[in-house]
Symmetry: C2
């Protein structure tokens, strides 16, 4: 009481903003932050600040930070959509490419998927689409499911590998040049030790394939293997 200003008109008007942020806005803002500044920058306070609202208000719409991440993951999948042609191989490849594109667009995604079963609406919708893509293979749903799981596992794994260095670089806060300058000598040292002959051959003799080529190669292997094993 005593430390309130004595004169009523001297009191600051409390900001009269009464805008509800809504779950969608929160999720979208959070995704933007994570995409542009990385996951560590994504705090509830930060989201609230970007939204111009109070931190505690977010908890009216989202149960926890963890919940928010679940919502972000599901939201990000809503962008995916596949038109099926009936050619299982082409359709499954198309799904694979879309998943890859999503994972690359949101670099934080691959690190957050482990530990979260994909049960959101969009996750299920995408899973349904993948199963539908592979369905023409055979009537054996168990085989279809196995094929889909194998393809998606491969996609997730490769993209994770693909992103690893990029992410580490970003996390270190170094520029690309500084990063290479710090890793290069170490690699050179490893090679010169002579203890890693195959690795050395890979680095020195190996051709530099683009990430797309590498992806395509492995995807082809998986699809070939599926085709060969499919009960007609």
């Amino acid at each position: 009481m005593a430390d309130e200003p004595a004169l009523v008109w001297a009191k600051e008007r409390r900001s009269p903003r009464r805008q509800a942020p809504s779950v969608e806005q929160i999720v979208r803002t959070a995704i933007t932050i994570a995409d542009t500044e990385g996951l560590p920058a994504l705090s509830m306070r930060r989201v609230a600040a970007d939204l111009g609202s109070g931190t505690a208000s977010l908890y009216r719409y989202v149960a926890s930070r963890d919940d928010l991440l679940d919502l972000m993951i599901d939201e990000v999948k809503s962008a995916e959509d596949t038109e099926l042609t009936g050619d299982w191989r082409a359709d499954l490849a198309s799904v694979a490419h879309q998943v890859r594109a999503t994972l690359l667009r949101h670099p934080w995604l691959s690190g957050e998927i482990p530990g979260r079963p994909a049960l959101g609406t969009n996750s299920l919708r995408r899973h349904e689409a993948a199963l539908a893509a592979a369905a023409p293979l055979t009537g054996d749903i168990t085989f279809v499911a196995g094929a889909v799981d194998a393809v998606l596992a491969y996609v997730f794994g490769t993209v994770t590998q693909e992103l690893a260095e990029l992410q580490a670089q970003r996390r270190s806060g170094l520029t690309k040049e500084q990063w290479q300058a710090s890793v290069g000598p170490y690699i050179r040292e490893v090679i010169e030790s002579g203890e890693y002959p195959q690795f050395s051959r890979r680095v020195i003799e190996g051709e530099d394939r683009s990430a797309e080529e590498v992806f395509e190669f492995g995807l082809g292997c998986v699809l070939d293997g599926i085709a060969a094993r499919a009960p007609h």
Copy 2:
């Protein structure tokens, strides 16, 4: 000065422990905590407490928590070792099984690998072993590297899928029964909505394959694809 006890013998003897924890002990303790209680329980204070040392002391041996995680990942890979037979298919499969075993033994691992390039001593040693396993395939090191990457990507992806539900369950703190009781009705609802026909077929008609069977199926696909494409 004034707030020191006046009597010298009233001063508490500072604990005279002078034991250096050493990096190895720190890493081992951290791995144990992460394995048994999950990554969220792994705090620097917790590690220090288990070690009976002061929190700040850890920073004499480990630069940061992030560094500690890098060390943990590399340490965990030191357990892996493969004897090569010269049969590329058997050897590559053996490497795959080992990686899977490691990932399953340390459930926190799959969530921490994304974003960290595997440049530790043991990571390199394992990568070298994988390349050596695949080397008999062909003299083309680029192809060998592609094959290894594809196999490891698949392994990482499947195990991540395999662990997802297990991890979520653990994270929620619920027992297995409680978890199933909370997920079951939701799945039932999804099926009854009729909007996910393939998914429903999978759940209802699909045979329950064990995790090993699923793993083996996909691994076979990848290896078949590699075999078919290998330049002789």
